[in-house]
């Protein structure tokens, strides 16, 4: 477990030491690949380190754990192998030299390391949307931060970011943070959600809000803020109509000293973009095939850098699959694409990965619908494959595996994924 870069050549370099990256590295090493993990923070673990609530590992370990407990299972295992890893290290430049050679310039506290690798798994996670990205205007005082920033302060560093808190966004992150604040003695004055329904799990709405009497304002949005002495003093909240446009005359002010933005995540793609990988405007992550390989041969993606996942278990699953794909890539000197099939988003589908199929392997799809619907088919049109669904929700990721023999029956070069009413 050398905690630095010991070689000049690797089969695989995993960028990002969170759950997806750790799982990928372990799987790759298990398959015999020379593996390096690069992490910018001062320790391995990624986002789960700051998530001290339960809900981790239910699918993967069949156990309910906190974030740190979950991720330390992987870290401990990694430390017992000979996988190289390096923390406080940043991949500054990545260059595609040839199908079997990528060159990385890595900045570390022990100097610049130039490393050659056959494959890359990019598992750098996601970042949160900020107040500017959700159009909150007004002054720019202290006291406005993302949920992750608040969580890092509170649960990694023991610092209370505020006392009277308003949360923007009712996804699971927003709901769980609301409860965390209350448990630490703060007052949560409300959770504001632009949609007419909460976007997190019903279970979390009950256990995080209702049980603590925290108000949930549906069909509302924060449009601007006010300040007093350099700090937020209130949020200007307005009711929205259809099309999510503010309704004139419904502005109210909610007093608070802190506004926590839990308005979703965006995959980190900076390095992939510098390599020239195609980005999907829907997922905001890269376009990939069923190996989670980007449009740059030998560069794979997993976890929230690929698609924003509901569960850490999916990120781990993607990491392992990407590692298996990288193994295949190393063994077979590339992944041959026969006749690529494009995935088309059909009725009520908002996004999906993979976006391309090579028709050489089973495919695991992850997607999201555009709006809630009951009693529908999830249909893969051109291969005549459909699965009944009692309920689909934008907040619940669809995960569907389709076997190669089924996929191969396609006669066209496009496969439409759609949500269709049942009868």
């Amino acid at each position: 477990m050398p905690d630095r870069i010991t070689k000049k050549d690797y089969d695989i370099v995993v960028i990002g030491g969170g759950p997806a990256g750790l799982a990928a590295a372990l799987k790759a090493r298990e398959k015999g690949l020379e593996t390096l993990v690069v992490e910018t923070r001062d320790r391995l673990g990624g986002i789960p380190l700051q998530c001290i609530h339960p809900g981790f590992g239910i699918h993967y370990f069949k156990e309910d754990m906190t974030g740190p407990e979950f991720v330390y299972r992987f870290i401990d295992k990694l430390l017992s192998t000979d996988i190289d890893y390096t923390v406080k290290s940043y991949v500054n430049i990545a260059k595609y030299v040839s199908p079997m050679e990528k060159k990385l310039e890595i900045i570390t506290p022990y100097g610049t390391e130039i490393v050659r690798t056959k494959t890359i798994i990019y598992a750098a996670g996601a970042r949160e949307r900020t107040r500017y990205e959700i159009g909150i205007t007004g002054p720019n005082p202290a006291g406005i931060m993302t949920a992750g920033e608040a969580q890092t302060l509170m649960d990694m560093y023991g610092v209370m970011p505020g006392k009277r808190i308003l949360i923007v966004g009712s996804g699971d992150v927003g709901l769980i943070m609301a409860r965390r604040f209350v448990l630490e003695g703060a007052e949560v004055v409300g959770v504001v959600e632009i949609l007419p329904y909460p976007s997190g799990l019903i279970r979390n709405v009950q256990q995080c809000l209702k049980d603590y009497g925290i108000p949930l304002l549906l069909s509302h949005m924060v449009i601007s803020v006010k300040k007093r002495n350099g700090r937020v003093s209130s949020a200007v909240v307005v009711k929205v109509g259809e099309n999510f446009k503010p309704i004139q005359g419904t502005e109210t002010e909610i007093e608070c000293d802190t506004i926590v933005i839990a308005a979703g995540l965006k995959p980190r793609t900076k390095l992939l973009e510098s390599l020239g990988a195609q980005i999907d405007p829907r997922t905001k992550g890269p376009v990939v095939n069923e190996y989670f390989e980007t449009t740059i041969p030998g560069v794979f993606v997993a976890g929230n850098a690929l698609i924003i996942n509901d569960y850490v278990d999916y990120a781990v699953e993607q990491g392992e699959l990407a590692a298996l794909a990288a193994t295949k890539y190393v063994d077979e000197k590339g992944i041959r694409i026969k006749k690529p099939v494009k995935i088309i988003l059909g009725r009520n589908m908002r996004l999906i990965v993979p976006q391309i199929l090579t028709l050489t392997s089973d495919a695991l799809f992850y997607g999201r619908v555009a709006r809630p619907e009951d009693n529908v088919w999830l249909s893969f049109k051109e291969i005549g494959f459909k699965i009944p669904q009692l309920k689909v929700l934008p907040s619940i990721m669809i995960r569907q595996k389709i076997r190669l023999d089924k996929l191969k029956s396609i006669g066209t070069n496009a496969l439409t994924v759609e949500v269709m009413p049942r009868d």
Binding site: G111, A142, E149, P161, S224, G230
Partner: protein, 496 residues
């Protein structure tokens, strides 16, 4: 020894002070109410070093002269002080005949002021010079000398250079009154006590009229004219290489689209006249931002989607009731000097205003001689991510903090952050602020606006300097980053 007190550590006051440090026999003190330099008008503007062909030499003779002179001085200053700058030239893009006609007068102005290379260009040449221009353009005006700098980096660099040359900064100190005896200024009263002075220079930006009133001068007033901006990610495709703007109006130079020295597309500003008392209303509005976005679409072929906006902000122009720069040395009270109403193109003109004002002062003092040991140079904080590996590794060997990138959006190392702290202390900031670190290093300045690195930076400052996150502020005053330690609320601590 004379003591000169400059009120206002914006680009104007700092430029004046820098010129004065070249002389023996003068003690310089720059005072600002904010806990750092440049936090007034200097912080939020379009950042352009204008060619100056848009100044009317009949109406504003001094302003047009200082504009051009300042422009020319900046070439030297950005080198001496290692200020990020570039000189891409600018195009006024006309989309209707009327606008096109209005452009002729600038050629005349350019000729009379002495701005080189200004000429009308046709549609074809516009599109050749700048492929990002809206193809609906019918013609335009090209001014090849236009540049852009990072104004905050400029203010910081000048402040460091002043201190290097023995000048003093008194930050977080508010000027409350000016003491006059026998028709002469003798001292100022500040929130931190009285300071004797032989000369008081008023470079107080938006508050200049209030400072003048303290010296008994009330022949002008200042009102804020707001400008709102949209800043896009450095990863959008739309990156005009030239500075583009719509045809000027009597109120403003039009809406600009510019790729900043930091690589971001910046569009703006609006021009909204606010009441005199609204001098802290540097706030954005939906209306203003929508307008800016719409205007920018007139000059650009394509605009990035609004989801690529990483920050919106507003600045306030200090508009003088006289309509032009107010620069004078008063005989009554003697020793009171003004550099007031420094609205646009104040950033461009600053080095020349500094020279001009320092001359007004020097010629009235006795036994003042240039210094031989004056230091013209200041070094920027090294940026390892942008260095060649060999150079970088030398830096990292000396200090491994330069090898740990903390802010991934802007590739800023811990070494840079700690160096910024050191330099803030050196110029005498009353407290280390997160914004101070941001402006010096550009950490917390990228796509995520600090949401990823800020808590870690705060934690590292805590560990290294003992600065608890609930004491550190974002921008001084009451802007505490956090409230207390976890559990203090549960314990019911009184100061929590």
């Amino acid at each position: 020894m004379y003591r000169v007190v400059v009120v206002g550590a914006g680009i104007t006051g700092l430029s004046i002070a820098r010129w004065l440090t070249r002389y023996k026999g003068i003690e310089i003190i720059v005072i600002d109410k904010e806990p750092d330099v440049g936090w007034g008008v200097t912080k939020a503007n379009t950042s352009i070093i204008h060619p100056c062909h848009e100044e009317n030499p009949d109406k504003h003779p001094l302003r047009s002269k200082l504009c051009l002179e300042g422009h020319n001085l900046w070439y030297k200053w950005v080198k001496e002080l290692e200020i990020p700058a570039k000189w891409p030239g600018e195009i006024i893009v006309a989309t209707i005949d009327e606008e096109l006609k209005g452009l002729h007068k600038y050629i005349d102005y350019a000729y009379r002021i002495g701005v080189p290379g200004v000429r009308l260009i046709d549609r074809e040449e516009i599109l050749r010079l700048e492929p990002w221009v809206n193809p609906d353009a019918i013609g335009g005006l090209y001014a090849p000398t236009a540049g852009t700098i990072n104004p905050m980096m400029a203010a910081i660099a000048i402040a460091e250079n002043i201190v290097d040359n023995g000048g003093k900064l008194l930050l977080g100190t508010k000027v409350e009154d000016i003491v006059i005896r026998d028709g002469k200024v003798v001292a100022i009263e500040t929130s931190k006590g009285r300071i004797e002075a032989d000369i008081v220079v008023n470079a107080a930006g938006l508050y200049a009229d209030r400072i003048s009133r303290m010296a008994g001068i009330d022949d002008y007033s200042i009102h804020p004219r707001r400008g709102q901006y949209l800043l896009f990610s450095d990863r959008v495709d739309v990156k005009p290489s030239k500075i583009l703007h719509t045809a000027p109006t009597p109120k403003t130079k039009g809406v600009y689209a510019i790729t900043t020295v930091d690589g971001n597309l910046l569009i703006g500003p609006t021009a909204e006249d606010l009441p005199e008392e609204a001098r802290e209303e540097n706030t954005t509005t939906h209306q203003g931002l929508d307008f800016t976005y719409k205007m920018a679409s007139r000059i650009l072929r394509e605009l990035p989607p609004r989801s690529k906006i990483i920050k919106t902000f507003a600045g306030l122009r200090p508009e003088p009731s006289t309509g032009t720069f107010i620069i004078r040395f008063h005989e009554k009270p003697w020793g009171f000097v003004e550099a007031a109403g420094i609205r646009s193109p104040g950033l461009t003109a600053a080095p020349a205003i500094g020279k001009h004002v320092s001359k007004l002062i020097i010629e009235r003092l006795e036994n003042i001689e240039p210094r031989k040991d004056w230091r013209s140079k200041r070094q920027a904080i090294p940026r390892p991510a942008y260095m060649a590996p060999r150079e970088r590794d030398k830096l990292i060997r000396e200090n491994p903090d330069y090898g740990w990138i903390i802010c991934v959006c802007r590739k800023v190392s811990l070494g840079e952050i700690m160096e910024a702290v050191k330099r803030m202390k050196k110029i005498g900031v009353p407290e280390i602020t997160l914004d101070g670190i941001k402006f010096r290093t550009h950490s917390m300045y990228g796509d995520c606006q600090g949401s990823q690195c800020r808590p870690h930076i705060a934690y590292l400052l805590w560990k290294r300097l003992g600065l608890q996150p609930w004491r550190i502020t974002i921008k001084g005053d009451g802007s505490k980053y956090a409230f207390t330690e976890v559990k203090a609320l549960l314990r019911g601590d009184r100061d929590a």
